[in-house]
Amino acid sequence: MTTLAARWVHRNLFAKPFDAALSLVIIPLLAWAVYAFGHWALVEAHWQVVGGSFKVLLTGIYPADQLWRAWFSVATLCAMFGAGLGLSVRPARAAMVAVASVAILIAAGVAAAIDVRSGLLTAGSAALGIAAWVGAHRSGVDQRIVLSGLLAGVVAIFVVLSPPGFEVWGGLLLSVVLTIAVSILTLPFGILLALGRQSRITSLRVISTAYIETMRSVPLILVVYWIWIIVPLLAPDTSVPGLLRGMAGFALFFAAYVAEYVRSGLQAVPRGQIEAARSLAMSTWTLNVDIVLPQALRVVVPSLVGQILDIFNGATLVFIIGLTDFLRAGQMILADPQNSGRAYEVYVFLFAVYLAIGGAITYASRRLEAHLARGS
C-alpha cells in the first residue's frame, strides 16, 4: 500500500525535475490556502449570519405564514428531479447512498441553522426525490408520461406559489423557478425559430433569421430591461408583474440560442431520413415531429442542458428590474447594519451554492452526452 502510494506520488508529482519543482511550489501553497480557508471557516467565521437569514436567502420576502407553499415547491422539485434522473441513470446502491448522505448532511445543516421541523421537511423532500428516482426507473414508465409529469409539476409549483403575489417571490426559490420556467418556455419557441429559419417560405425564413441574429448580437440584460419597460407601453391598462416580464425577456433572449442549437441538430439528420419519410408520403408536419426533431433533439440535449446553467447564472441579472434573486437576497442581508462585516460569510455561502448547482447541471449534461452517445 505504501509502495503503491509512493509510486503514485513519484509518477504524478515528481516524474521530472520540472514537475518536482512545480510540485514543491504548488503543494505547500495549496496546503496553506486550504489551511487558511479552513481556519477561517471553522474558527473565525460567524455563520449565524447565514443561518439566521436562511429564510431571506432562500425565499426573499415571501410571507412567513405562507412558507408551506415554498416547501411544496421544494418537495415537487425533488420529485421531478428524481423522476427525470430515473429515465437515464440507474439507481445503483453506491449512487443512492451518496445522494442520501448528502441529503442527510444538508437536512442536518438546515435543522441546526433553522429548526428541527425544517430539517425534517428537507429530509422528507429528499426521500421523495429518491423514491421518485427508484420508482421511475423500476416501473419502466414511458418517457412521455414522465415528461408530462414534469410539465404538470412546473404548473403546480406556479399555481401553489402565486396566491401571495408574484412581487414577493425571491431568493434561491425565484432563481430556480425562473430558470425552470424559462428553460421550458424557450424550447418550443426555439424549435419553431429553427424550423422557420429552414423554411421554404421566404417571409418565415427572413423573420426567423433576423430574430435569431438580433437576439444573439445584443446583451441579455438589455433584452430583459427592454421587455420590462415595453410591456406597460403595449398593454397600458393591465399590470403585468415584473417577474413575468422578466421571464418573457429571458425566454425571448434564450430562444434564439436554443434555435441555433436545434438548427445544428437538424443539420445532423441525414438527408436519407427525409427522403425515406417523403417516400412514405409523410406531410411536412409528421416528417418534422416524428422523424427529424426526435433525432435532432437527441443530438442537442447536452447543449440544451448546458444552457440551463447559462439561464441560472443569467438569472442574477433580474435585480435590474427590481426582483430579488438569490444573489440579491444575499446583498439585502448585508445591507442590514447589524450584518456589516459579514460579507465574506454570505458570499462564500452564495459561491458554494452556485457552485453546487452549476456543478450538478454540468455533470448532468456530461452524463446525458455519454448516455446518448452510447444509445446511438
Binding site: 427522403e275 425515406a276 419519410a277 408520403a281 409523410m282 433525432q295
Partner: protein
C-alpha cells in the same frame, strides 16, 4: 438522335401504371435524363441497368417525386407528377397522392434509427393513412413475419444486420400498400452474404404480382425476375427488351461493352 429504339409491346396487354414520355431532367447545367420514354404495366417487373452516373437512379427517383423534372410527361397511377415549375407554386397534393401508392427502398436502407423495427413499419400507416396504432402494429408484425423478421420486431435498426435492415425497409414500404415499388440499388450497400436474403424477398414480391422498378447491378437476378430490362446510357434509354434480348442479343455496341464488363465476373 437515335430514335430507332425497338420497344417490345409486352405492355400492350397490361394496364399502364407508370407512363413516362419525353422526360427531361437536369441538375443545373448537367442534363441527366434526355427524352426518356418508358411505360410500365401493372404487375410488371422492370429492371434498369447502366453504368454509374447514367441516370438510372435519378429516373426512378423521379417516379415518386424525390427528384423533380423540367419537362415531359410523367403519370403514376393516373396522377400527373408536378414538374419543377408546378412544385414552385404548389403541387404538394398530387405529390402526396402519388407517394401514397409508390413504395421506395433505398441503397442505404434509411430506417428511422430512433424507432424499433415494428414502429418503423407502423409509423406511416398511422400518421399518413390514419390507421389505429394497434391495427397498424398488428399489420406491421405480419409484414415483418413475411420478410422473416418477426423475432426482431422490437430491435432498433442499429441492432440489425444490413440485410435485416433492408428487409425491414421493404416491409416499411409494403405497409403503405403501394401499387408500385421502386428499388434503388437495394443490395449495393450489403455484405455479399446478405444479398441473397434481400433478393429472396424481392423475388417473392415479384411472384405475387407487385409492379416493380428496380435499379440493380445483380445481373443474374435481373435475368431471373425481370419482364423487361432497360439499358440507360448517359441519360438516354438505349435499349429495352426481355432479359434474353438484352443479355443474349444486345443490339447496341455500348450495351455490349457494358454487359461484357459487368458479366465478366
Amino acid at each position: 438522335m437515335m430514335n430507332a429504339i425497338q420497344i417490345p409491346e409486352s405492355t400492350a396487354s397490361r394496364e399502364v401504371i407508370v407512363s413516362i414520355g419525353h422526360l427531361n431532367k437536369s441538375f443545373g447545367a448537367f442534363h441527366v435524363l434526355k427524352d426518356v420514354d418508358l411505360d410500365v404495366g401493372r404487375g410488371e417487373v422492370v429492371v434498369i441497368i447502366g453504368a454509374s452516373g447514367s441516370g438510372k437512379s435519378t429516373l426512378i427517383r423521379c417516379v415518386n417525386g424525390l427528384e423533380m423534372y423540367q419537362s415531359g410527361r410523367l403519370t403514376v397511377d393516373g396522377f400527373s407528377m408536378p414538374t419543377v415549375a408546378d412544385r414552385a407554386i404548389g403541387g404538394e397534393k398530387e405529390l402526396a397522392m402519388i407517394r401514397k401508392g409508390v413504395g421506395m427502398v433505398f441503397q442505404q436502407f434509411n430506417l428511422f434509427p430512433h424507432m424499433s423495427a415494428i414502429d418503423n413499419v407502423a409509423i406511416a400507416p398511422i400518421r399518413v393513412r390514419g390507421r389505429k396504432p394497434d391495427e397498424a402494429r398488428a399489420n406491421a408484425l405480419r409484414l415483418l413475419e413475411r420478410v422473416g423478421l418477426r423475432d426482431h420486431a422490437h430491435k432498433l435498426p442499429a441492432q440489425l444486420s444490413g440485410g435485416q435492415q433492408q428487409r425491414v425497409a421493404i416491409a416499411r414500404s409494403l405497409a403503405m400498400e403501394p401499387h408500385i415499388m421502386l428499388f434503388d440499388e437495394p443490395t449495393s450497400a450489403l455484405d455479399p452474404e446478405m444479398v441473397g436474403e434481400v433478393l429472396d424477398v424481392m423475388r417473392e414480391l415479384a411472384r405475387e404480382g407487385m409492379t416493380m422498378m428496380i435499379v440493380t447491378h445483380e445481373m443474374g437476378f435481373a435475368r431471373e425476375v425481370a419482364d423487361r430490362v432497360v439499358y440507360i446510357d448517359h441519360g438516354r434509354i438505349l435499349e429495352i427488351g426481355t432479359p434474353a434480348e438484352i443479355f443474349d442479343r444486345p443490339t447496341h455496341e455500348r450495351t455490349k461493352t457494358f454487359l461484357s464488363r459487368v458479366l465478366r465476373h
